[in-house]
Point group: C3
Chain length 241, copies 3
């Protein structure tokens, strides 16, 4: 039995990973799906990356979790990288699932094409609390390309405004991921176009990990909604020793 | 029920898409498979791109088709782009299936590696009516790589000489595809080597669409012959709202 | 009935391809799995590339094999290229399976990232007979990413120290593969990270073949261990006329 901690992406909460956690739990593992500070219903959307990372590091400490397989989705890659840097003794393996891989001093927006940064800047600029949302057509076409319209709509309704500072705050790391002394895996869903594939997740970001285990499967950025069972399987293939 | 118009590629006719149309029709949709001017048995092989585009635009008008999901294969991508530019009010979504995506002023040959242009120039130069054919070894290895020899041969026997001017005529568009106000999808079969994959369909040509929905599946350039059922499925995933 | 000769990769022997040969044999074909000079138990690890190539060319001659579908895995790509150059009249088709494709004057290390060359230099430098082994973490994460730990370990135990001169000897060819007058296929397993995918097998090395047939399937570098049945299928799709 292993301990999995699944860290969601931007606009999501831990709750939205329930269908992914269930089959991993059914396979005999302990599974946690905390919500990152800034994404829970009542949270202040002015939260930054430091608070986000601390909230998950604190979660591991408070629950006394060790030998953790720490899985991060998309923006969650920023968070698990920061957690590994400050609570590395609790982490057995990092698993990036179509996730950002930052080196010291990088922010999420540094890994995103310019037209997305402009769009996010404009949207958050209109927001009273520096929050950002995804325009529905981008969600439907580029994130939920493997869903039908009904699922794209129902999943969109579950998203929450995201604290934009977590995209613009530069991460502070004592070591870059490639130098971290922890096992690493990268799960790449091959139809994920949340980043344009010419500037995509894998191998562009995955190879920042140094030696890592690649796991791939068909699906878009939001397989937590479109194929949670397959995602659970791939997380276990990525997470096993 | 939606209306699908499937526009074939070079050397093909609409008739060769019958096995693709059937399962889409069986799912309740209206499906049309017109043959582009220049490709029907008696057509003059000196036809150019303008005539090709007009023939499909005329087809939509004459049949009073609206809200069309307009699907183009390979060279058919040139044609549907032109049709969307001049009859955009009839088109609900453009679906490119391993297809060329031209910007204003580009011709098909601008998107093809130099050694193919040289080969096509040489073959059409030998032809009395500026027609071009594919050499059988290229068809067998690079287009029908997922077929056995018998299917590669029987499908080759159904091809017709292609009007080469449609490869060299530059398209005239009032707007590039990325700026067109119509939904767009790109279907990429992942073993398609009709274009070398280092200079391939996706993401090189797909990303000229701006925001688009990616659909991928295993197969070569000619899944209309090697896996028409899977292709029909993917067309419906690409075409749905 | 066709004749298949399967040429293993570095650290392997022909014996390790038994589970791949069996289903090809069951489909009615004649299958040979010779061990390259330098890799058999008692062989001198100071063997070079010339001896390696000669050993397989001699095998074809001594067994009177003609119309051979000659399959090479990884390092085996160096060997089959050399065999085709000097015994091309015995070869019907070359099949590269995640294999190196050398032009005249290239060595295997010319196609490998610098950090692997440094690692191999260091390991072979420690060896009394210029042999090189793979460090277990690289084997487990980058070669056996699609295996569980038990299979990764049991397969590792079957490997043998590899004659490093075969990685540093430049191949002498009268013709580069693209110019060779023999049919060619490339099988690419899409999760193979033995080479980093940004500097990977396909299309970087496959396209050195000129016109070739692409066959792809899911799996890592060592599908001979993780999925021999699927590999056998793909070898037959790559090898048929």
């Amino acid at each position: 039995m292993a301990t999995y901690v699944l860290v969601h992406g931007a606009w999501h909460t831990g709750e939205l990973l329930a269908d992914v956690a269930a089959p991993i739990r059914a396979a005999g593992h302990d599974v946690h799906t905390p919500t990152i500070a800034g994404n829970a219903p009542g949270d202040d959307r002015r939260a930054g990356l430091e608070a986000a990372i601390s909230s998950i590091a604190d979660y591991l400490n408070e629950n006394g979790l060790t030998d953790v397989i720490l899985v991060g989705h998309s923006y969650g890659g920023m968070v698990i990288t920061g957690v590994a840097d400050r609570a590395g003794d609790r982490v057995r393996r990092l698993v990036y699932w179509n996730a950002f891989v930052p080196n010291n001093g990088e922010c999420l927006n540094d890994m995103v094409p310019a037209h997305y940064v402009e769009l996010f800047d404009a949207i958050s600029g209109q927001s009273p609390d520096n929050a950002v949302m995804l325009p529905p057509p981008i969600w439907r076409e580029a994130f939920m390309n493997d869903a039908d319209a009904a699922l794209a709509d129902s999943a969109f309704a579950k998203l929450n405004p995201h604290p934009y500072a977590t995209f613009t705050d530069k991460i502070a790391l004592s070591k870059n991921p490639a130098e971290m002394d922890v096992a690493k895996s990268y799960i790449n869903f091959t139809e994920d176009t949340a980043l344009p594939q010419s500037l995509g997740w894998h191998p562009r970001l995955s190879e920042k990990l140094g030696l890592f285990r690649l796991v791939q499967a068909p699906g878009g950025h939001e397989v937590c909604f479109t194929n949670p069972g397959l995602l659970a399987e791939k997380i276990m293939e990525a997470g096993r020793d």
